[in-house]
Symmetry: C3
């Protein structure tokens, strides 16, 4: 028998997180308010990640991998400036940032995080 | 000494799955018949995922994270309609969907799944 | 209390790797010398992955999943020819390859690896 899975905020289509054997897998997080600029959207997304990691018994200091999708890779400097204020710089995670069109054309950023519980 | 790794359908270039310490990592799954439309291709990909998860001792009810790449993000509605019929709605996984050009221009969808064994 | 996390080459913004509970998560690896062609850049990236996996107590024979981003998906043949010389063909990992614009327009390839320690 495998490890049990705990899911957060299960909706019929997807959930916000799965927690299994000490690892937290978050769904791709997107802005709440797509009218914000890239900096504002990045702040929103990182705040949501903080909240979900807390719910899952983890934190931004325990991120194992972070995949960032930007609608326009030219936004990486702006994203980084917000990231640098947010990240636990003594426990910074591996990261990969690439460009991809997102489900809502108003979204500038989507972030996928895996963390240790 | 680390945990042992079991691989499914090992070919020289890649395998279909790696199973290690209770976690199943599937290769990106693509359509068998690229002449199908997006709905048909999505059904094919999800059927392949069902089969591989079964081989790996897992199932769609135990998915930990699902990354979906669509050749055209405008297909997300069609993809979701097929997904909604397939997903275990009481155990829906975290998910992220972005646009990316795929290795075969006829492919409309590629799906990467991580699951608990 | 969760498992301890070991990080490699921690910089304020990100680290090269996180190792937790026997799993190694590498940051997206990019070329050292972007003036090289796709084959050369691929060789550079795979050499960096070899080095980081070794530092983390793992190896290319213990990769659990490999996500490849190509700036131009048409480069997949060239990438594969370098990959085929490098991969442990008896222990080939699951893999997914899609196109994405990368942070430096001179980069042709970025590779994200998860491995067993």
């Amino acid at each position: 028998m495998g490890h049990s899975i705990c899911r957060l905020n299960v909706e019929p289509r997807y959930s916000d997180a799965a927690i299994c054997n000490g690892v937290v897998y978050l769904a791709g997080q997107v802005p709440d308010d797509a009218s914000a600029d890239t900096a504002g959207q990045t702040r929103q997304v990182l705040a949501t990640i903080d909240r979900l990691l807390h719910e899952a018994g983890s934190s931004k200091s325990r991120i194992l991998m972070c995949q960032i999708f930007l609608a326009d890779i030219a936004d990486i400097g702006v994203m980084n400036s917000v990231w640098d204020e947010w990240v636990d710089s003594a426990n910074s995670p591996p990261r990969a940032t690439v460009q991809a069109a997102l489900a809502d054309p108003a979204w500038r950023i989507e972030v996928v995080v895996t963390a240790a519980a």
